[in-house]
Symmetry: C2
Subunit: 237 residues, 2 copies
């Protein structure tokens, strides 16, 4: 594939809600769909940042580890990077202002796109979590047990995706951003930041290639009608 | 493509709710993704049934017309047919019992699949609608203006898709079935039926290939936050 017009998603956000954290896709298979992305590991084993074909895991202690080919994921997004410059950053932007700036400049509310920003941050605040033991807890319980990391004066990359709200539940409706410091000193799922300078690039998709773990019996047997997916996502994401 | 493991969807159900009925994909392009499917035409111009690579339109007067290559669609699902027999029908099944029988036998609630059934029906009740003029009304208003057709003792084919509820809004959560009589005397979007004999076949997908009309400015500019998509779909579908 590696179509620059297509976003690949493995799993759904919804399957994480009841704790279906099993990694059913290997990193090798994931990277066959692109060189850029985000995700999480087997058992919710940290937060993934994939840049230029290399996958980094921010674990629950905040360590940044390069991930091996046999690492597996329950949920991830990747695409073949072909970003176009959107704007330079010359005034301070927190996460909300960053997202507003990108949407105002692109007008892409109704389709999937990727955003990649590199520059200097007054601070970046992220979260991650250690691999959960079986039987897996639900996503909301995990969110309450996450570790939060904050670093001042850091250079790094924001990478992630925007999905239309109609896909919330399958994907993360709105922005889903991860961060990785250039020196690999911290990273994770973005909670907030203040970007001071740098640049923002974007890549629009006309297609979502959604793959489901149909060979995972726990997934196929699960009764999602008992999960309040939207509420849980609101609390956990 | 034509991967037998992948369902192609053009547009979303949600875009029909505020009346974004413009046909942005030609039949030729649609059929490049498979030989089997359902959909609707430009301006909500009837209900489509695609069997063995031939697309039939049931118009608002109930006529069944073979559709030309330049016919365009705002919303459609197609896939490359590779069905497997599921069960013979030897006791009368209405639409609800049919759907329950298929789900009970497959246990595929959590993934996309196609269902194709051929046989004798005590009756089939369908609906369709004539092409709407611009400015397009909303989907709920159109649903109130549809024509309903009922035929007793008819042989024909049920063709359609099941989508997990988490995708409701993007797709039709649950079953979305169309019907075509063997003699092309009637057809349309299934409202109800009573199947008496015949067989049911199914085809499971692990992937949804979702394409959005990113080059249609009306779609890209639309503010979906003002549409109550779930409520409208409940009323119209």
């Amino acid at each position: 594939m590696n179509n620059v017009d297509s976003l690949y998603q493995y799993g759904t956000l919804a399957l994480l809600v009841p704790g279906l954290f099993e990694g059913n896709l290997s990193l090798t298979d994931l990277l066959s769909h692109g060189d850029t992305g985000i995700g999480t590991g087997d058992g919710l084993d940290g937060e993934l940042i994939i840049l230029d074909g290399i996958a980094y895991q921010v674990d629950g202690d905040g360590n940044v580890n390069e991930v091996k080919d046999d690492f597996t994921v329950p949920f991830a997004n990747v695409h073949q990077g072909a970003f176009k410059p959107l704007t330079d950053v010359d005034a301070s932007l927190n996460a909300a202002a960053f997202e507003k700036k990108v949407l105002d400049a692109t007008k892409w509310e109704n389709t999937f796109f990727s955003v990649k920003a590199h520059g200097k941050f007054k601070f970046a605040q992220t979260r991650s979590i250690n691999k959960q033991p079986k039987p897996y807890p639900g996503l909301v319980e995990c969110a309450n047990n996450q570790s939060v990391f904050k670093k001042e004066d850091v250079e790094g990359t924001i990478i992630g995706y925007y999905s239309p709200q109609i896909f919330n539940g399958a994907a993360v409706g709105g922005f889903h951003l991860h961060f990785l410091a250039d020196d690999h000193s911290m990273g994770g799922h973005v909670m907030d930041f203040e970007m001071q300078s740098g640049n923002i690039a974007v890549q629009r998709f006309s297609k979502l290639e959604q793959e489901l773990p149909v060979n995972n019996q726990d997934y196929m047997d699960h009764d999602f009608s008992k999960d309040d997916i939207q509420k849980a996502i609101g609390e956990a994401e």
